[in-house]
């Protein structure tokens, strides 16, 4: 290549970074510079090949899920040893309180100190993630039988899929999600524009009364029924979630 512009302006032109005047000027140059024409064609070919090869690598789900739980645990202040002890005591005290009202889920992780907080975080994380484009449902159907049939083929437990249209909750579909490394089934409803995710998984824990809470602006309510544990999450009002809970539990 003898034309110097093949190593400079040509790239700006190729990348659309020369601005209107620069573009026009280079275009004129292209009309009578065979070096640049050839180089442009080469660049264009390589770009096209790069695109076709789909080299972009998307983050694995494990990173996305782990990352969120991890970030929340680790953003805390770098504590002095003494402070750490207090934090530990506070965590232990909190754990004692919540243990009485526990909503336990995936067997085998109960020894984790931050279990409660992590589970709430995990559920709310999954809810937030589901709101991103393309993540809400694996099966789209307002028909409870279609959704149930899909779950029957994909999870090892029978799922109570409710049609709550008459009560103001329209069924959008369902999906499988991962909370704290365990697979859970999720029914997706919408109530006056608010997405409601109902997470469902089997449990062996004895039944306890329903619990509600709020995390990062999202309401959640958790309850058990017939060896199944349910957790509904939404930015709808607590009253609406409570209504959904009654519909499911009733």
């Amino acid at each position: 290549m003898s034309c110097d512009l093949t190593r400079s302006a040509l790239h700006g032109y190729f990348d659309g970074e020369l601005g209107a005047a620069g573009n026009a000027e280079f275009k004129r140059h292209l009309e009578h510079c065979s070096d640049c024409v050839l180089e442009f064609a080469t660049q264009d070919f390589v770009r096209d090949s790069l695109q076709r090869a789909r080299l972009y690598e998307f983050a694995p789900d494990s990173l996305k899920l782990r990352k969120r739980a991890h970030l929340r645990c680790c953003v805390r202040p770098a504590a002095s040893p003494q402070r750490l002890i207090w934090q530990w005591l506070a965590a232990a005290a909190a754990l004692l309180v919540v243990a009485l009202l526990v909503w336990r889920v995936l067997p085998g992780v109960h020894d984790d100190d931050d279990y409660q907080a992590e589970l709430a975080a995990g559920i709310v994380d999954a809810h937030v993630r589901s709101l991103q484009p393309g993540h809400l449902t694996n099966v789209d159907s307002a028909d409870q039988h279609t959704v149930k049939a899909w779950f029957d083929g994909n999870v090892g437990f029978a799922l109570p899929v409710r049609d709550l249209t008459n009560d103001g909750f329209s069924l959008l579909g369902g999906r499988l999600d991962i909370v704290q490394g365990g697979t859970v089934a999720v029914l997706v409803y919408v109530r006056l524009g608010h997405v409601v995710n109902v997470f469902i998984w089997p449990t062996r824990e004895p039944e306890v009364s329903a619990r509600m809470g709020e995390r990062l602006g999202y309401q959640w309510v958790v309850w058990q029924k017939g060896k199944m544990e349910f957790c509904a999450v939404s930015d709808a009002s607590p009253a609406e979630l409570e209504q959904l809970h009654r519909l499911f539990a009733g």
Partner: protein, 177 residues
């Protein structure tokens, strides 16, 4: 280092977390390994979360990718010190002129392109990845890589020449192997 309060966290979630794919992809190409990229991207996200209070708004993707880049280079220095040091010797590897025809033969297929891209020194590879895979503007590239805006174009030109060279001329691989 402080806890993000819920409001900051939501902001972080809204502005930064949508770019997890970009963070991972960038780390993967800088480190040439998915497994390492997963760890390093995780570390970078953690740093981003820690520094988020200092984020003044603006281009969150560029801000995050800058952190990913720094984290990657620190990781390379520690774990593969030779790799991060190698610069391409242009004089030694005067490329044969790449033409559309020679490139057409050489640039077909994902594996071939991956290999060629991975033979580039990281400082060139990152430019190709940011421009061609991530679609960054020159301004964003300058912000992410700390190259002066005025030299992004010529740096990209060099990186592209290296890529063409690696595609049509396998000897380039030996230069950094």
């Amino acid at each position: 280092m402080n806890d993000l309060d819920p409001e900051d966290w939501l902001r972080f979630e809204r502005l930064v977390l949508p770019h997890v794919d970009a963070a991972f992809n960038f780390a993967r190409w800088l480190l040439r390994s998915r497994a390492d990229a997963e760890d390093v991207a995780q570390e970078a996200l953690l740093r981003a979360c820690r520094f988020f209070r200092g984020f003044q708004g603006g281009d969150a993707r560029a801000w995050l990718l800058q952190i990913v880049r720094n984290t990657c280079y620190s990781w390379l220095e520690k774990n593969r010190p030779r790799e991060s040091m190698v610069e391409f010797d242009e004089e030694l590897h005067r490329q044969p002129v790449a033409t559309p025809e020679s490139i057409a033969m050489a640039a077909e297929g994902r594996e071939r392109l991956t290999r060629a891209l991975e033979t580039l020194p990281p400082r060139y590879r990152e430019l190709i990845v940011l421009r061609e895979l991530e679609g960054c503007s020159y301004k964003e590239i300058a912000a992410i890589t700390s190259i002066p805006l005025g030299t992004v174009m010529s740096s990209l030109s060099r990186a592209r020449r290296q890529l063409h060279c690696a595609l049509v001329n396998p000897c380039c691989k030996e230069a950094i192997a």
